[in-house]
Symmetry: C2
């Protein structure tokens, strides 16, 4: 069946496009992907503990600690020990960090959204229905997806 192959190739293309876009964004900002991702999560979801950040990104605490060391050295984040519970450490993006995100170029999702909004109602519905179908086939519908397609900059919050 040709269509099955088409689906695989198309999905692969879409995933690949977001990968390439992420890499480009990474070069532009001068941050590595995990660093950029950390900044994004902090920006989208606000300050949080080191552990929470690790969970968001499916990494161990130790890994996130070292990423934060580097972000801190670049003055993009700061760590503040919680007063209520002194075991906890809250991570904040600095003004400089937020500025960096805002200065990044338009994202893939901006482009996608703009084009999508131009579509006819029926086509929008068709696309959403199709994606829902695929998502459930992959068992992806149970995944708590962060509200971003890629780690792009965006003041959508």
């Amino acid at each position: 069946m040709q269509k099955s192959q088409d689906v695989l190739v198309l999905l692969r293309q879409i995933i690949r496009a977001t990968e390439l876009h992420d890499k480009q964004l990474s070069r532009v900002t001068g941050l590595t992907m995990p660093q950029l991702m950390s900044m994004q999560v902090l920006h989208m979801q606000g300050p949080m503990t080191v552990g929470a950040l690790a969970n968001q990104m499916n990494l161990t605490q130790a890994t996130v600690t070292s990423i934060l060391d580097r972000l801190e050295k670049k003055q993009l984040t700061t760590r503040v020990r919680s007063q209520e519970d002194k075991r906890k450490v809250l991570v904040y993006p600095t003004g400089e960090g937020l500025a960096l995100l805002k200065s990044a170029p338009a994202t893939l999702q901006d482009r996608l959204i703009n084009a999508f909004e131009e579509m006819q109602e029926w086509e929008q519905s068709m696309i959403v229905a199709s994606l829902e179908r695929i998502s459930s086939l992959l068992g992806a519908d149970s995944i708590d997806a962060a509200p971003m397609l890629d780690v792009g900059p965006l003041d959508r919050s």
Copy 2:
């Protein structure tokens, strides 16, 4: 517009599902993702030079060389210097390497394909059309996607 957000979340979920699946597969095979990816490309597209392999994966030659060092140590690939042009080195998967791929569990794409084949003709067409639309919106349609959704094992060639 709610639907725009839906699209982003759904795409994110789909991408995330393939990521998680890749990681699991990586654990099962005992290979890291780049190693697994290399094996897959060799399997799907046949023996090729180190440089060609690097291009396929958007990595530098140096990076691929070190990955091949490790695969070779595990006896999963071999390098053979070309006779026509002695600068070139062809990379072959070993029998052991191919066996490893075949022994891996059913992939995400198997599940996807099976479910897809069960669908009504109209739904299949709708999904393909939707994916094509998104792919072109992302500029992904110009990407030469390897014929696989993720780096899973498959004797579909």
